[in-house]
Amino acid sequence: MEIKVIEPEKIVLGGLILKAIMEKNAGADPAIEKKLTSMSGVINVLAAQMKFRIIFEGKGGSITIANGLHDSPSATVAADFGALIEAAMGKRLVTNFLTGRLKIGGNPFKLLGLMSALKI
C-alpha cells in the first residue's frame, strides 16, 4: 500500500516518518491495510512544531499526507517528538496524556483505528 504525499519535496519530516511507519505496518499486515483504507475523514497531527494532516478517502480508497492542518478534522493529535515515538512504541500513553505531553481532540475512535498502523 502506498500512501500519497502532496508536494513530497515540501512535506515536513513528521509526515514522512508517519508515512513510512504506516506503509511498513500495512505492508506487513493486510488487516491493517484494510482498516486504514476503510477509514474516512482527516486527522490533524501536530508533531513538536510540525503540522500536517492525514486524509482518508475511505471505502478502500487512498490515503494522503499533506502539510498544514484541516479546518474541520475528524480528530487531532498533538505531542512532542518523544511522546509521539513513545506512543508508537505503546509506552507511557496514559502518563503522557495526563501530563499534557500527548493531547487528543475530536473523535478518539478515529485515532484508535490508526493506532495499530502506527506501532513501531
Binding site: K10, I11, L13, I17, A20, I21, A48, M50, N67, F81
Partner: protein, 487 residues
C-alpha cells in the same frame, strides 16, 4: 600510451615480469573503471593497472617507473571523494588491495601491523575470528575502504572525538619512497617493535596529508583500543545551528563520549526517499545531533546517561529547544535505513549508491567557534547552486577543532550538474578558508585556491620535500601540485 604501440608493449612486458601476467591489465573496461571516482573530477585512463602483493613488487615498479618516467597512482578502494586516486592519463595505476595481510597484533601494546589493502571490515572480522574485542576508529565510508590510506589522508572516524584524526592512530610505517628505497619510520626504524612514533624524529609527516605524492605505504602500525560491551547511540533533534553547536561544544567538555556529531536535515529527508527537498519548513528540526558512548558495565553506562540528561536539563533551563534523545534502535524501527548508523563499518547506501552515481564534498577542519557561521553561509551557497544543504559536523579530539563537511549528490552523467558541483565546491572552499577552515583530503582544486595564501616558507619547504623524495615527479602527479611540471 597505447599497449599496442612498441613502447606500450615494452612496458607491458616489464610489468608482467614484475607482477606476473595475471596481475597486469590493460583491459579497456577495467581501465575505464579505474579512470574515475564518484566526484566531478575529470576522469583519466591509465595505460595499465597492476596489483601488488609484496613490498618487493612495489619497489620494482617504482624503480622501473623512474627509469621509464611513468607516473604511478596508488590506490586501495578509491573512495576518497577528491579525485586523489584518479591516475594520470596514460600512467600506471597501482592497486594495493591484494596486499592485505594483517601481519601482527600486539595485544599488550595495542596495535596491529597491517598491509595497505587491509580494510576496516577485514580488521573487524579478524578480531571477531580471534575472539578479541578491539577496534579502530571507523569512518562513515564503505567497509572495503583501506585503513592505511585513510590514516595517510588523515580522515576522521567514529572515535575521532576522543582520539583525533586517523593519522593520530599511526605508530609508524614502512614506506617505499618514489626513488624505490624502502624506509621505516617510528619505533620500528630502530627496534623490533612498532609501538610508537616517539621518541625519534617523526617522519610520518613526510607522508601524511601529502595525498600519496611522496611515498607508497607497504606496512603500517595502527593503534587499536578495547571495545566496550555496553554502547548507546542516540540522536537529538535541534532547531537551530546555535542550539546544535553550542550543545556540541558543551558536551565536548566532558570526556565521556566516543563520538559526537551534527547532521543537517536533508540527510533525514534523503533517508525517507526525498532526494531533492524544498527549503526546510521552520517548524522542522534543522540539525540531528548524535552522541555515542560506551561502558564496561551498566552502571557506568547509566552514569554517563545521567550526565547527558543533566546537561540537557541545564541547556533547556537556559532556553534551548532540544528534543529527547532517540536511541538508534528505536529509529531503526521507524526506518530500517537507520541501521546504517547502528553498526560500523557501514555503507550509507542513500549516499554512495544514489541512483545518479555522483557524490562529492568539501570537507574541512577548523575552529568550532565558526561552525554556526560556516553552516549558515554554506547553506546559502549550496542552495544557490541547486543543492540542499547536506552537512556533517564533528568535534575532534575533545573539541579542539571541528569538522565541517558539505555533501552533494547528483547525476554524474549530467554535464550541468557537474558544472554546478564544481562551482559549488569552489565557493564552499573560499567560504571555509574565510572562516579559518582548511580542506582535508584537499583536491587539486582546493590546492590551487589556497596555495597562494599559504605561508611561503612552508610552501617552499613542501616543494623541497617533494623534489628531494621524488626528483622525477612520478608519484601521483596532479594532486598536491608540488612537482616541477605541475601547474
Amino acid at each position: 600510451m597505447s599497449a599496442a604501440s612498441a613502447a606500450g608493449q615494452a612496458v607491458y612486458e616489464k610489468l608482467k615480469e614484475i607482477f606476473g601476467p595475471d596481475r597486469v591489465s590493460n583491459d579497456e573496461a577495467k581501465l575505464i573503471e579505474y579512470s574515475h571516482d564518484q566526484t566531478e573530477a575529470k576522469p583519466a585512463k591509465p595505460s595499465f593497472i597492476v596489483w601488488a602483493k609484496t613490498t618487493e613488487e612495489v619497489v620494482a615498479l617504482v624503480k622501473y617507473a623512474n627509469e621509464a618516467e611513468l607516473p604511478i597512482t596508488p590506490r586501495v578502494a578509491g573512495t576518497n571523494l577528491g579525485g586523489l586516486t584518479i591516475p594520470s592519463e596514460g600512467g600506471l595505476l597501482l592497486d594495493l588491495s591484494q596486499m592485505n595481510k594483517i601481519l601482527e597484533f600486539d595485544e599488550v601494546e595495542q596495535y596491529v601491523v597491517i598491509e595497505p589493502g587491509v580494510s576496516f571490515k577485514q580488521l573487524k572480522e579478524y578480531f571477531a575470528e580471534i575472539g578479541k574485542n578491539y577496534l579502530v576508529s571507523i569512518p562513515l565510508a564503505p567497509p572495503e575502504v583501506g585503513i592505511t590510506p585513510n590514516c595517510l589522508l588523515d580522515g576522521l572516524g567514529n572515535l575521532s572525538f576522543r582520539y583525533g584524526t586517523m593519522a593520530e592512530w599511526v605508530n609508524g610505517a614502512e614506506m617505499v619512497l618514489p626513488t624505490g628505497e624502502v624506509m621505516k619510520t617510528g619505533s620500528c626504524a630502530l627496534v623490533d617493535s612498532w609501538h610508537s612514533r616517539a621518541p625519534l624524529p617523526d617522519l610520518m609527516g613526510l607522508f601524511t596529508n601529502f595525498q600519496g605524492t611522496t611515498g607508497i605505504c607497504t606496512k603500517m602500525s595502527v593503534q587499536v583500543v578495547p571495545d566496550h560491551p555496553y554502547r548507546r547511540r542516540t540522536f537529538m533533534l535541534t532547531y537551530s545551528y546555535e542550539a546544535c553547536f553550542s550543545l556540541i561544544r558543551k558536551l565536548s567538555r566532558y570526556n565521556l563520549w566516543d563520538d559526537i556529531g551534527g547532521l543537517s536535515w536533508p540527510t533525514a529527508k534523503l533517508m525517507f526517499g526525498v532526494d531533492k527537498p524544498a527549503p526546510r519548513d521552520e517548524t522542522e528540526p534543522l540539525m540531528f545531533l548524535y552522541l555515542d558512548f560506551s561502558a564496561d558495565n551498566e552502571t557506568e553506562l547509566e552514569l554517563k546517561n545521567s550526565y547527558l540528561q543533566s546537561i540537557l536539563q541545564s541547556e533547556r533551563a537556559n532556553g534551548m529547544v532540544i528534543e529527547d534523545p532517540l536511541d538508534v534502535d528505536v529509529l531503526v524501527r521507524v526506518n530500517p535505513l537507520f541501521a546504517s548508523f547502528a553498526e560500523f563499518p557501514t555503507r550509507l547506501t542513500f549516499l554512495v549508491d544514489y541512483p545518479g552515481g555522483g557524490l562529492s564534498w568539501v570537507g574541512t577542519y577548523g575552529p568550532t567557534k565558526n561552525w554556526e557561521e560556516g553552516c549558515k553561509r554554506g547553506e546559502k551557497i549550496m542552495w544557490k547552486h541547486g543543492f540542499p544543504p547536506t552537512t556533517v559536523n564533528r568535534p575532534m579530539k575533545g573539541g579542539h577543532f571541528a569538522v565541517m563537511r558539505f555533501i552533494e549528490i547528483f547525476d554524474i552523467e549530467d554535464p550541468d550538474a557537474l558544472k554546478r558541483v564544481a562551482q559549488c565546491n569552489i565557493d564552499l572552499i573560499h567560504m571555509a578558508l574565510d572562516l579559518n577552515f582548511i580542506p582535508y583530503k584537499a583536491t587539486s582544486t582546493a590546492v590551487k585556491i589556497f596555495r597562494d595564501k599559504i605561508d611561503p616558507v612552508y610552501m617552499d619547504m613542501l616543494h623541497k620535500i617533494k623534489a628531494m623524495l621524488d626528483p622525477k615527479g612520478i608519484l601521483n602527479p596532479g594532486k598536491w601540485l608540488l612537482g616541477v611540471d605541475e601547474e
